[in-house]
Symmetry: C2
Subunit: 548 residues, 2 copies
């Protein structure tokens, strides 16, 4: 009975509700209040438009947000001993250069009275620190307060690539939904939107070189991104320290290209037995033996390399079906007429040409794992590989010397477990079940990689939302707060240095719930994880026989 009774004492979180957990965190015991009128964020430079925009954004947010954690439902007035009047932001460099190496570190200090201080090497580090500062503030008895001052946070991300993959081809998302997603990413210190722009289903983006793609390939006039839309998204993202990395997935998953150019396609929409040619309908792959297909792909790379200014450019390479090509008469003939060539060698040649083209355009190529792990393609060593098939692909790729983005579907694919989208199929989705936040949080992309040099090759990871059963009505709930769980793994990991152990999920859950409620208050429709009861009695919502 003593154990039971103890559970009824609401447990205070052991640290402030900052999500993701900073890498180094020191706090005190004194409550402080944010001065309501006149609280100002100031900076040492005015020439960084990223920093200026961030200060304006957080000045507004701090003035208008009045968030209280559900943790504190029965808490009285916090005793405060002084006011914080301002936050001074100092950056070492005012240069707004966001790339794969950008420094995002910062140091934040909140005293027990007076001026808080944030220092960073870059404006992007300051963006991260401003977010942390905003999360320290809780509404309490009509005031805005910070618990447990003085606070000193020394913070930097564990991984440099912390991304979300968003598929806008299976179903469409209007620009507003993408901007809102970028907001949510900044609340979780994620820094890459891997924009899976096109896929087999639709071509939702303007093309000036091949306008016929958009004409034939968008779902409706209202469902396409103009150049202006893309530029707006890139700029909005940059102000939040987020890179937009586009993907134009080739040569598989390209049925939609065949709507305009059936002449360069193999196995175009084979029906009803599409399953011999593709993992899902509609089937169709660019005809890799046709020089017109190569030339077309070069056009795509050239056009969109210019529009998307990020250094990274993803050209897909996943889910290739060899039967599709083996049964294509053009390819059959080509292989017969070219001794030494095979469908496999053609595929390898395809990727060599594409990666070469990207190098010419000054881009860093990104590829899914298959060309390297299935076709013995040896990429130029600038290529960054995305491991998505299995957790062990990460290790296989770093063993071959590649830099790797970890996104194993069994942990990081957020659209799974939603039944089949095929009209007449009552079974589950191939990637069943739903990936709970617990499975995401307990996965360490560095697992089983011991050599320090190899560990450095793991740049980070991506959670993925493929959109067969998602569109703008559901995006928030598919992504959040599970992408928040991922974000903490990417930012600081799941290891508790004080406990010298992996964090106890029963303590993580209410912190994550806090973050979820803050996101909801900021307009992100993140889904609930548990009955709200569990934030009162977190230890009581654990499974007795599950691994702790």
């Amino acid at each position: 009975m003593a154990a039971t009774a103890a559970l009824f004492i609401a447990l205070a979180p052991s640290v402030q509700a900052v999500w993701p957990m900073p890498s180094e965190y020191h706090d005190g015991k004194i409550g402080v209040e944010i001065k309501r009128s006149g609280f100002m964020i100031k900076s040492n430079v005015t020439s960084s438009s990223v920093l200026n925009a961030a200060i304006e954004r957080y000045q507004y947010l701090i003035e208008h947000e009045f968030f209280d954690s559900p943790y504190n439902f029965n808490e009285g007035a916090l005793k405060t001993s002084g006011y914080i009047y301002s936050l001074q932001v100092d950056v070492q460099s005012a240069q707004d250069v966001l790339d794969l190496e950008t420094d995002e570190s910062y140091i934040l200090e909140v005293p027990i009275e007076g001026k808080a201080a944030l220092s960073a090497k870059t404006p992007f580090g300051a963006v991260r620190g401003l977010e942390t500062f905003s999360q320290l503030i809780m509404a309490n008895s009509g005031r805005k307060t910070i618990k447990n001052a003085p606070i000193r946070i020394v913070d930097a991300p564990k991984f440099t690539h912390r991304g979300i993959l968003l598929d806008t081809s299976r179903n469409f998302y209007h620009v507003d939904s993408i901007l809102r997603t970028l907001d949510a990413m900044s609340y979780n210190k994620l820094n890459v939107l891997h924009w899976h722009v096109v896929d087999a289903f639709s071509w939702p983006i303007e093309s000036k070189v091949h306008p016929e793609l958009t004409e034939k390939g968008t779902y409706s006039m209202d469902m396409r991104y103009s150049y202006q839309d893309v530029k707006k998204i890139i700029n909005y993202a940059k102000n939040r320290a987020i890179r937009i990395m586009p993907e134009f997935n080739m040569p598989a998953n390209t049925f939609v290209i065949g709507e305009a150019h059936p002449e360069i396609m193999s196995c175009l929409n084979k029906q009803p037995n599409w399953d011999k040619y593709a993992v899902e309908p509609p089937s169709g792959q660019l005809n890799i033996a046709d020089p017109r297909a190569v030339s077309f792909a070069f056009d795509i790379i050239t056009e969109y390399s210019r529009l998307f200014i990020d250094l990274g450019f993803h050209i897909g390479g996943n889910s290739i079906n060899m039967d599709c090509w083996k049964e294509d008469p053009v390819i059959e003939l080509y292989v017969r007429d070219h001794p030494g060539e095979s469908v496999e060698s053609l595929a390898v040649g395809w990727f060599m040409q594409m990666v070469g083209k990207l190098a010419d355009m000054g881009k860093i190529p990104f590829l899914y794992e298959e060309p390297v792990l299935n076709f013995n393609y040896t990429s130029k060593n600038t290529t960054i590989m995305q491991a998505w098939v299995g957790e062990d692909s990460v290790g296989k790729l770093v063993d071959k010397g590649y830099r790797v983005i970890a996104s194993p579907w069994n942990r990081y694919r957020l659209d799974c477990g939603h039944g089949s989208w095929l009209s007449n199929f009552e079974g589950s989705s191939w990637c069943d079940p739903y990936k709970g936040w617990q499975q995401i949080y307990s996965y360490d992309p560095l697992a089983n990689i011991t050599e320090p040099e190899k560990r450095k090759l793991v740049l980070g990871g991506e959670v993925a939302l493929f959109s067969a059963q998602s569109d703008e009505t559901t995006i928030d709930r598919y992504l959040w707060p599970r992408a928040s769980a991922f974000a903490e793994i990417m930012w600081s990991g799941n290891f508790d240095p004080i406990m010298n152990a992996t964090r106890d999920a029963a303590k993580v859950a209410p912190r994550l719930t806090d973050q979820r409620f803050r996101m909801v208050a900021r307009g992100i429709m993140a889904e609930p994880l548990q009955p709200l009861w569990c934030i009162r009695y977190p230890e009581a919502c654990a499974h007795p026989t599950a691994a702790s």
Copy 2:
């Protein structure tokens, strides 16, 4: 190749996009236009407040809605031959009595010009017909048009109880979310909101008799329903021909009562080994040997029987754990001191008393199946049983002569497949996987019940949303459009009389997608079922090896 090419012709739906499919539908070949200015809905009576409210609502909706089906994305201007100037609604009775026997039939006729006509026996039938009329109208080239006039629809529901169970205890829904859900129900001709008001986690409703329940048992001051809220919800529902049937689940799933009254509870929040005493934490059941518990339950029934004016009153009875009671010292002693009594007989006695009390209050009791199927409880024959454990429970209960509501969890539980809500458990939910619309649509509650007299005992069904992982941010997505799939089964079934076969899912999916888009246009954030591509090429989104 011929088969493939044929798929590229967008397939017109075989009937208008009315959902659920009416039971009898005749149409012609002529397009008509709704007169934009001056279109009026008139009625033969003015004394029904339900009818008046419905006419006002649909007059507004028809004026303001400008919905076009994604089916018609590339369709040109519809040729129309005349205008519809008005809709004349005639009801036989103006009495607003909504109960378990209310007639919802209607006949709707749309001519090729002039006045459309809707006739119904009751105002509630008129509500159904108005919804149908609104769905016939599609935006086309800046006009509002109806295809395929003349139309004659003779319609009535197959089942009288077509419900959604909504749990407001695990997580809270503000009144607005419930009203929006009632709107969505009316768009799908559902007629019962089974309001699972309380459960183990929170007590979100005002009690005038036991205010301590709300005081100790709500999540926050902002998360409770006042008497006024409840009355508002009941009235709003009635205007949409929907009954609000409350459930006060006892004697299990009642931990929250123990927050105020631990003295009448058994096995209250056993930790950490709650799994011996309950299917999920927190454990706790009313102590059935304690007269104070019986008296408390009578108070609850009395108070809420008056507030909720519906004839139906659900008193739960599911998920009882016998160990909880067997190990309770009060119950142990009682059984020892009362020869012939057992924990089972106490449980049977409990339900006898509760059902008796409800009869005294003039209510029709509803119970989950367990008291009858697990405890050999023989209910008074007025009781309506809810079969939720297995599909075969429906047959077992009608064999015993009970009227039954079918809600087998493996078909109708909409919250499943979302991972575990327990903090530290990486496994799936017990009711995994997610129930796709296909599984819902293919289930016939009358399956394997052949005798006509027994088939009549199946009153209908309920899909259920238990809210461990849902709240108002997710309700629309969990319910819709899967509850729409259910609604068609309840309203007219999945049998196509023209094809003389169960409907082909490849033809149902785009119709359901249409209904989903209409709901989204009306503000219900229903989730997408498929890539939008599938509404263009429905036959191409079928699984080749699945049963057709």
